[in-house]
Amino acid sequence: MKILIATPLVLGAALVTPAVPAYASISASQATTDGWVRLANLSPTAGTCDLYLYSFGNSKALMVLRDVDYGRVSAYSALPAGDYTVTMRVSGRPASSPAVASTALMLMGNMEYTVAAMGTGAHERFQTIDDSSSVASGKSAVRILQAADTTTRTAEIGKQQVGSNLTFGDITHYQTVAAGSQQVSVSTSDGTASTDVQLSPNSTHTLVVLNGSKGPQISALTDAAGTIARPSGGAATGFGGTAPRPLSSPLPWLAMIAAGAFAFAMGRRRRASSRSSSRSSSR
C-alpha cells in the first residue's frame, strides 16, 4: 500500500484554520477542535483501490491513499471538525474518473471514526464506524468487526466470549478485557483462526475478521491508547526565575525620603537661625 499525501493532512488543516498566535489560542481556549479519521478497504470484493478524502465541496483531495489492498487500514489523521467526502476509485485510475463508491462524513471534534469500504459484489459502499477511546482504568476495551463474507460463530479473547453469530458488516460493542498479552480466537463458517495480541493498559482495539487465503484471518487495530500510569495533576516545571517580581512594600523607601527631607529641612533651619544670630551679634 503506497501512500501519497496530496497536501500533508495536518498542514492542510492548519491552512484551513487561520493561524492564531499561541497566546490567543491559550486565552481563547480551543480555537479549533479536531476530530480523527482513518480510512480502510474492508471490502472483500472491491479489490485494490485508491481512497480519496476531500473537504466537502472541494474538488482537490486533502489526502489520497493509493493501492489499498483488502484488509488495510490507514493511521488516524487529525482534521478540523466539519464535513468531508470519502471516495473510492479503482486503483490507478485518475482522480477525474468516476467513483466506485462515495460517502459523506460529518466529522465532530474530539470524535474518532473509521471510514471503511465495505461492499459486497455489485454494491460497493462505505460504512462509517464510530471508534471509542474510553476504557476502564488499567484495562483494555476490544470489539470485533466482521469484514469477512462468512459467519463468525464465536470470537473469544482468552476464555472471554466477545462476539457470536457475526455476519459481514457486523460490529460488536467494545468489551472490557484484561490488559496484557491475550490470545484471540475466532470460529467461523470458513474455519478457525487464532493470534496473540498485546493489549496495553488503557487502550481500545478493533479486531477485524478478514477472509484469509486459507480460512479466516485476524487483524488487530489500536483505536486509542493512553499512558500506562497516569500522573496525578500537572507538573512542577518552573522555579520562577523569569516571573514578574511581586511589589515589595514601599514603606522603607518612603521613610528614607522622609528622613532625607527632614535632614534637609533641619539644615535650612539651622543655617537660617545661625545667620540671624550672627546678624544680631554684629550690631
Partner: protein
C-alpha cells in the same frame, strides 16, 4: 563646610536615594529577551528525510527533541512518577524529559515530554513553549536514529488545580505528543507556578499500519 550645609546635602542625597529605590522597586522584573524564531533555512536544515512517507512507528526510546520554531534542541532524559503520584520533572532546567510509563513518540497514544519554563535565575528549556502555534513542527530523534515528526494542533493553559489528566494522559487515537511546562502566575509563597502550558501535537505523517 558648615554643619547645616552638610546636613542639607546629606538630606538631599538620602531623599534622592529613597526616590530611586522606590522607582526601582516599582519597575517590573528583568525583561528576558525571547530567542528569535528559527529561520526558514534553519528549519529546512533540521527537517529530516522521511523514507518513502511510511509510518515512522518504532519501539526505540526518544533521545533528542528539536523544535525549530522556538530554537529548542535538547537531549531527553527519562521521567517516571514521583512518590506523590505526580509527574517527575527533570532535575535540571536545561533538558527535557520523556515520561517512560507511557507511549514513546511515534507509538499510538500520547507521548509525554516535560521541561522547565525557568530556573531560579532565568529561562529554562521550555521558556518559549507557549509561543508555539498550530502548524509548527516538532521533531523527536530516537535511539535507533529514526525521527518522529509532529505538528502542533493547539496550545492550552490549565490551572494546576484543574489539570485535565484524562485529556492529557488518557487514551487518544493516533500517534500524539504532549509537551508540558509551567505558566501563568507565579505564587511566591508556594514558590511554584499556578498553571501548566500543554502543547498538543499529532504525527505529521500519516501512513498504513
Amino acid at each position: 563646610m558648615t554643619r547645616p550645609t552638610w546636613l542639607r546635602a546629606l538630606g538631599l542625597a538620602v531623599a534622592a536615594a529613597g526616590v530611586a529605590g522606590l522607582l526601582a522597586s516599582r519597575a517590573s522584573g528583568t525583561p528576558v529577551p525571547a530567542p528569535a524564531r528559527a529561520t526558514i533555512a534553519e528549519q529546512r536544515l533540521l527537517t529530516p528525510r522521511l523514507g518513502g512517507g511510511t509510518a515512522s512507528a518504532s519501539d526505540a526510546s526518544p533521545v533528542e527533541l528539536i523544535i525549530p520554531a522556538i530554537g529548542v534542541r535538547t537531549r531527553l532524559i527519562r521521567l517516571s512518577l514521583r512518590q506523590s503520584g505526580a509527574l517527575q520533572v527533570p532535575s535540571t532546567t536545561t533538558v527535557a524529559g520523556w515520561f517512560d510509563d507511557g507511549p514513546a513518540p511515534g507509538q499510538p497514544g500520547p507521548a509525554i515530554i516535560a521541561g522547565h519554563v525557568d530556573s531560579f535565575k532565568g529561562p529554562g528549556v521550555f521558556f518559549d513553549l507557549s509561543q508555539l502555534r498550530r502548524g509548527d513542527r516538532i521533531y523527536v530523534r530516537r535511539s535507533d536514529g529514526t525521527m518522529a515528526v509532529f505538528t502542533v494542533t493547539v496550545v492550552h493553559l490549565y490551572l494546576k488545580s484543574a489539570f485535565p489528566t484524562t485529556a492529557v494522559y488518557g487514551p487518544a487515537p493516533g500517534d500524539q505528543l504532549r509537551l508540558i511546562t509551567c505558566g501563568g502566575t507565579f505564587d511566591y509563597q508556594d514558590r511554584s507556578y499556578l498553571s501548566n502550558v500543554v502543547v498538543y501535537a499529532v504525527a505529521a505523517t500519516t501512513g498504513p499500519l
